[in-house]
Symmetry: D2
Subunit: 368 residues, 4 copies
């Protein structure tokens, strides 16, 4: 197998012209697409319609190009839209293909991707241990299916997870079950947090003894360095995209990751670049910029209101959501070094890296 | 003479406790203060009351500490408040002192500062050639008074300039004069632009032949690489702070500058650091971080909607002002390298650097 | 013919469940739909994706229900989405049906509707006299086709008009034509203004001598009391919905209108109610509330910054767009009297009523 | 005694020119001022600096005009700044004077005002029963001192109450006490809620049996119909302004109140007007508009997301704070009837009226 990743600029949430052009000229085989991640230009908060508009447009277009039904697509392709392109961030799609490859694997490791999903969760399981354990199990299965034998070869796990609506809360009560919260917005955080801890459990970043219902979204000292999770109303299962390196895959792409300990931690960025064979200069060389295919990271305002001891105002600004501030900040930090603003910086980082920091993963073309 | 600069964190627009503490312990002589620049946490746009609140509080406090009247203070101290601490930017004051120095100048150049002002402008002069030429003249005079002999030794000129109110437009008409615009908000841009061109003219960055009434705020190909201008309603003259290096000043501070050609231009930053004797690493060394006293830059969204060919959405976002996006972006770019968020990034950059870019000046303690 | 109008609550921009339910139970014949107006919950400004999402969803659904192609639908159904449900305004659809009616017209007048369109405009015509005159002609034709003989029987004309994009500006230049503005956002205002003046010309509210290219969007003393215009990127012609009363239509609906002279002009509202046979009490009686089918109005902040001599801050607020303030204000003014928040209050009112005011039209069930 | 109330427009948070003019011409005696309420134009949320700027400016000016120290002023004058003039709301001051009056009371009741305060609260008391009971006691005392014998003659009680800061939480812990919350923002709500319940207890709207620590900010079925409370960081006691009618006061002003059951409840408004002898027409007569001196009300979005069964989006809008939506809505509802936008509509209405509604009080000149 060979994994291909395409970064395609988007002029609007419903702009699929760039994707279509690559399909038309044979660069992308629509039947091989396993995931589309989109950085769309809404506010990334509750009333962000750019995400739903993008997903609806992509599903409809892909249904036309592949002849598959939308229901089939929903089970075979992971769609994750991350709203919010504040500061310099540029709207774009990341299209992941898993192609049959005639070329034998060349001995080294190459980018490997796998998509999977859990069973549907009952409402009372969301944001609780059940979601953690079932997710961990599914991440392991997806790893194996993707031919990634060792957890240290997994560098990024994207999960799309469910949330609680009023109807689902009612269903739980009918079944004489409690729910983690009756507030839909908060349930998104719990579901993201439990899903991230599921990844952490699967990858050995935490052990089962660290985990209880009570610590989810409360004890931020346990987290994954490789999870990125987002909640959506349209599903009840966890959809999973595992990205790593494997000797059983071929191709010229590779992924690595590290963890930013705060929002301006360019040392973490430098370590990832270094491992990818890119000299972490200011900025990196043009030739190296061209090797970058996808930059995936999480941004959150530090809860203590400080960055390296200096006060930030993100949590005090009632005009702009704190997550919008955080994305634009991290986007600037990365763009100044990497020389591009096509960066997949998303928010909502419960149990995804330490408070104020977050995982950073980079997919790059192999160096010579 | 010796120039001292103090960077003091602010917990609110009216927080002068940090300044008071340094006066109380003898670090700052309130009578020696020639300028206070403040990065305050309002929106930096029309309805930003954090600027006025800060200025009123500082003037009142300084009047108490020095025994001078507020009117005297307004003519002897330059107060410039820049609103907007988006992303990670941290509210702070930059206090400039000009102290008598017993120590003889040590042969090398040291930081030199001078404050000055133009005559009051008539309303019809604002945003036009008269403002450019009178400003240029006053910048030259202020340079000389500050003992800076050569224009290449000037690295930063901060100007506070007037704007047109309805009353001032009426006054102009009564005198049978036209004004550059009857829109107060637009007049701020014209006044900033003309003031910046005045700096450019004084420093030889443009020649008089390049300049006409018609090109102001229209032809962005002419600009200063060292001007930072902001408009305020409370004055009719231009207040000027010239910052450079001079062999007639002593002390351990020095300033240098360069020009960011776009919002993510860390090559320009690297050049300034290099000239200051700081290795432009990712991030710079801790010891070098401590040498940084003030980082002064301008941020603006590129008018063509692009950063290095990728679309930005700053100008399309009707929820967040484009200048707020731009400041948070540039703040991130600089913070990732410099390891601090106490950065004086301000907006409104007419004729201050090229479209989408802007000047960057750094005041640092001399290296050994 | 019989005109039917349905007000259907929307839970999201893509919520067509309410419309589908009325089609499923036979209340609405999808083939008879001539227009759908939607109040959607985006910001109503540049980056409002709720409008495009709503239109795309409605077209796709309607294509499925009617078997017509999307291209056919675009020529036979007027879709107008107005973004912005600030304050208490409630997202909803207004679905207009023109049904064949067996019942003979009963002597009195009943609600009459007609849809039409102009020829496509060339880019250089947008926002200029050509757009005014061609629109006026098409409004007259649409009136006649709708069986409305007298202009005083027209009470509301909704127009969707084109705007200038960069590509269209380039096309104009290639044809050696100038355009009214090269700024896309401003071109929306010019196109809305010229379209409204086209309505005014057709309805005898202005005469051709009043109109020149130069007065469009400049001289606000000329306007229509019955036009509501909105610009969209997806068309080059003006799409027109004329709503009035006619003796040749049957049914139990009727429309009337008046003009609010400022944002809080409830005297105008009282006059409309009175003519509809509703006692303008505070609030109106419950039985009368049930007679109201659609309330259509335009809201804009007064340019002089005053409402009845008191300062408003809508134009000074850099955090919230002035049009958002204005819609929520007018929504409150109307809701307090009418007892409902399902009100079609839209912004962007160039030449649609006087500065700070706007037309108000109400479609109601006939009284007994 | 005679109570006078002056409504003075404000051009900015620090605009005291109008107040000064009335003092200069003898209309207002600065020594007689007992309270100044201000509707200022910030966002009314966390980072609203217009409130602090206004208070600082008023105190400094009043100190100059009366010769009193700022500390004296803080104990003798109640300053309450309410941020947020969304929609059409117009920034203004309401200045309350208590004058010695030579004229004997004329038999009828006239406006009576009284200012008072509680003892300082310990941090652990804030938002709990202690704050309720001590406030109730102080309200009763203030009533008596104001010569208001019966609770039904109290129509409006404005309270300014403390909040918890980090330092105060630390103090409580040092004293081995718990606090109601460690979150400053939430503590504002608890303090407002407990203060409102204190008013309710004093006025007999609730009984002590209804009240527990646990029900504060949880059980919204208990509330005052006459309280308006706001929290500020600068005090530890509750400052109280009681406004009612009393036969022992003279003057031509009178107050009445009612309770809006939801945001568009003009029936409640009509009842107040009616009791003031104003015919509740649409709009009220010009002569009646001139009788209105102050309109005081609270606005909050209904927690169930509905207004009379129709969905509102206030709680789903991540770009505009829900309280900003609510104020502009209620401002519109009232302005349409009353013909003015100088309305004191404030947010944060815990236990001040039912969910989504709130008290409305009007001070008017007596009719003939």
């Amino acid at each position: 197998m060979e994994a291909r990743v395409h970064r395609i600029p988007a002029n609007a949430p419903d702009d699929v012209a760039g994707l279509k052009a690559l399909i038309d000229n044979g660069t992308i085989d629509p039947a091989a697409i396993v995931a589309i991640l989109g950085k769309t230009e809404g506010n990334g908060c509750v009333n962000d319609f750019s995400r739903g508009f993008a997903t609806a447009t992509l599903k409809s277009a892909l249904a036309g190009w592949t002849g598959r039904s939308q229901a089939e697509l929903e089970r075979s392709v992971v769609f994750v839209m991350s709203g919010g392109t504040e500061g310099g961030l540029s709207p774009h799609w990341l299209v992941f293909e898993a192609r049959m490859s005639a070329a034998p694997a060349n001995g080294g490791k190459a980018l490997a991707i796998g998509a999977g999903m859990t069973r549907p969760f009952a409402p009372h399981e969301i944001g609780r241990m059940a979601q953690i354990e079932v997710t961990a199990e599914a991440v392991r299965t997806t790893m194996q299916r993707a031919g990634i034998a060792h957890v240290e070869d997994v560098h990024y796990v994207q999960i799309k997870c469910p949330l609680l609506t009023k109807a689902r809360v009612v269903e739980a009560k009918r079944n004489r079950r409690t729910v983690v919260t009756e507030d839909s917005l908060k349930s998104m955080g719990y579901s993201r947090g439990a899903s991230a801890l599921g990844v952490a459990l699967a990858l050995g970043e935490v052990t089962l003894e660290n985990l209880t219902d009570a610590m989810i979204c409360q004890d931020s000292s346990f987290y994954s360095r490789r999870a990125a999770t987002s909640a959506g109303v349209e599903l009840m299962e966890n959809q999973i995209l595992v990205v790593g390196n494997s000797p059983t895959w071929s191709g010229d792409l590779v992924i690595d990751h590290d963890m930013m300990s705060d929002a301006i931690d360019t040392e973490a960025l430098a370590r990832v670049l270094d491992r990818l064979g890119i000299v972490p200069r200011l900025p990196i060389a043009s030739a190296d910029q061209e090797r970058l295919i996808a930059v995936l990271t999480k941004a959150e305002p530090a809860a203590n209101g400080l960055i390296r001891g200096s006060r930030h105002i993100m949590l005090d600004d009632s005009d702009i959501s704190a997550t919008r501030h955080a994305r634009s900040l991290v986007g600037g930090v990365l763009a100044g070094v990497l020389g591009t603003t096509q960066l997949f910086v998303s928010g909502g980082a419960e149990h995804q890296g330490p408070d104020g920091g977050g995982p950073i993963a980079i997919i790059a073309r192999k160096g010579r």
